[in-house]
């Protein structure tokens, strides 16, 4: 079984982003970029499936600018076999990205497509579900355990208030949650080997898809600042403040 893992290039999760002075967008100059952490969990899961003999090929796919090659190489170093970049300078949004990935899936016929549950820049949490709808595949989102057997995947997923188990017929879409696995670090020999692994570049036009976005960014602003309050000296003083000043307890 082939496994496709779509990956997104995002601002590293340790970076505190800033709004540009003219409020037109987020300042991304000289900011460290990484593989979206949830996508990295997807790569790790696919590689483990290959190591366990469940999958036989892991393909990392990105939709974005030339710079995404850096993140695809990271995925190759983490164990993906090959990579595909659907190259576009357009500001691709979930629906357009899903369409491009559908075209890749039509070519590759993967048995499972593992998405991150959300990207930590846009925080949309849409692309996997949209891809599933467009292909008619079942979906198991927010996964924390995947077991593949007999043409089906049994997936334990995080829901409000607890956990749910679904069984989905392959080919299926899974989106990863935090506790699915802990991704490995790429070793130096694997980083070297990754440079020789195949990385194919195609354009949305090659795939015959329109990835134009239906949503435009009007502007951005920093959130309302929350200023630090006061330090209290004792529990007694804290309770007094909550009762008589903030009036949030009786």
């Amino acid at each position: 079984m082939k496994v496709i893992v779509p990956v997104k290039r995002v601002v590293d999760y340790n970076v505190k982003v800033r709004v540009k002075p003219d409020n037109t967008g987020v300042d991304l100059s000289n900011v460290k970029m990484s593989v979206n952490p949830f996508c990295e969990i997807g790569i790790e899961e696919a590689v483990r499936m290959k190591e366990a003999g469940v999958a036989d090929e892991v393909i990392a796919v990105a939709v974005g600018s030339t710079a995404c090659q850096e993140q695809l190489r990271t995925c190759l170093a983490l164990g993906a076999d090959r990579a595909i970049l659907v190259e576009t300078e357009a500001d691709a949004q979930p629906l357009g990205i899903a369409r491009a990935l559908v075209a890749v899936q039509e070519r590759e016929q993967a048995g499972m497509v593992i998405f991150g549950k959300q990207s930590i820049d846009g925080d949309n949490s849409q692309t996997g579900q949209m891809f599933a709808a467009l292909t008619g595949m079942p979906q198991a989102t927010f996964a924390s355990e995947i077991t593949v057997a007999d043409g089906k995947a049994q997936v334990l997923r995080e829901i409000d208030g607890g956990m749910q188990t679904l069984s989905v017929t392959l080919p299926a879409v899974v989106t990863t949650d935090l506790r699915l696995n802990e991704p490995r670090y790429a070793s130096l020999p694997n980083i070297m080997k990754a440079k020789k692994k195949p990385l194919e570049t195609v354009s949305p036009a090659d795939l015959g898809v329109d990835i134009q976005s239906h949503v435009t960014l009007v502007g951005v602003k920093p959130p309302a600042e929350r200023s630090a309050g006061i330090k209290v000296e004792s529990v007694e003083q804290l309770v007094d403040k909550l009762r008589n000043e903030a009036k949030v307890i009786s």
């Binding site: 629906l95 008619g136 208030g161 069984s167 435009t216 951005v220 529990v235």
Partner: protein, 309 residues
């Protein structure tokens, strides 16, 4: 303008998050209908009919919808979408699961997690873990939107008298099935709608120590939450997690105990009205957002707090 709300429910009762979605819809203006997709869910539909401001309730009641499988529910929603300009659902685990699927079936974008309605096409939503607020404009004729429940005050659950109409047709995509569910049963208020939340972090040291929060939670009628660090360490189940990738809460009072305050955690609670932080590290970032900070050993402070309440 005609808006459809996809109700959040458990087949028996309507979940409060639906009321916040109705509030967001009211800002769009026009008629508001509620769609209840489930199995044996007449009672939930009846509750939806009594929500103030709801014009009518559509009920898609079929065994295929019993467990809210996204494949089936999205088809049911898309079926009735033709008559509406906007389709809204609360951004709960279920809303996040189903709505993008609906959007793709309708060939439109989704606007996730809106926190403000500027006009019928323009919305505010947090990005980058809430460190940036984006204003986005959709060019789609039909909008599919999920609503951040904490950003809209719930409409009254009573006072309406909408008619409930059954929707014909049933969809079973036949590609997924429900195996089981483990949902924690608790007498405490729900984390996302509680007016007081007390959360523990890595500083709690182990799961047993979370019992120290329970006594305080009992006295304040609070929900108990946790930071990612506490969940990853196995102290508490995942559904306790407050933060960018967990639950978003905005209670009247949020008490953070032994939580350092990573930006991912702050993303989930910084809209709380009053924030209290108890931490022994006086340089912990949580103090930068706390209205009242207490630098103390939580193992001494918690019993004292419980006794003082």
């Amino acid at each position: 303008m005609k808006t459809l709300i996809v109700a959040e429910h458990d087949n028996q009762s309507l979940k409060a998050a639906t009321l916040n979605a109705v509030a967001a819809a009211q800002q769009l203006g026009g008629d508001i209908d509620v769609l209840v997709v489930g199995s044996g869910c007449q009672a939930a539909a009846d509750s939806a009919a009594s929500v103030l401001g709801v014009a009518s309730v559509l009920l898609a009641d079929n065994a295929a919808y019993e467990n809210q499988l996204a494949e089936n529910v999205s088809l049911a929603v898309a079926d009735v979408a033709a008559g509406y300009d906007a389709i809204l659902a609360p951004a709960t685990a279920n809303g996040k699961n189903v709505m993008p699927r609906v959007a793709a079936l309708l060939d439109v974008a989704q606007i996730s997690d809106i926190t403000a309605v500027i006009d019928a096409d323009t919305f505010e939503r947090p990005i980058y873990a809430g460190n940036v607020i984006a204003t986005v404009k959709s060019s789609d004729a039909k909008k599919v939107i999920t609503v951040r429940t904490t950003a809209f005050d719930a409409v009254p659950a009573e006072g309406g008298s909408a008619l409930v109409q059954a929707v014909d047709g049933a969809h079973d995509a036949g590609v997924s099935s429900f195996v089981g569910e483990e949902v924690a049963v608790s007498d405490r208020p729900e984390l996302t709608s509680a007016s007081v939340v007390i959360s523990g972090g890595r500083g709690m040291q182990n799961g047993d120590n979370f019992s120290m929060l329970e006594g305080i939670a009992d006295k304040l009628n609070a929900a108990i939450g946790a930071s990612r660090a506490a969940v990853d360490a196995g102290f508490v189940p995942n559904d306790y997690q407050v933060g960018q990738t967990g639950k978003i809460v905005a209670p009247d009072l949020y008490i953070a105990v032994g939580i350092s305050g990573a930006i991912q955690h702050l993303a989930g609670m910084k809209d709380s009205k009053v924030i209290v932080a108890i931490n022994k590290d006086e340089d912990a970032p949580i103090f930068q957002v706390a209205d009242y900070g207490l630098v103390a050993d939580l193992f001494a402070a918690l019993p004292e707090l419980e006794a003082a309440l």
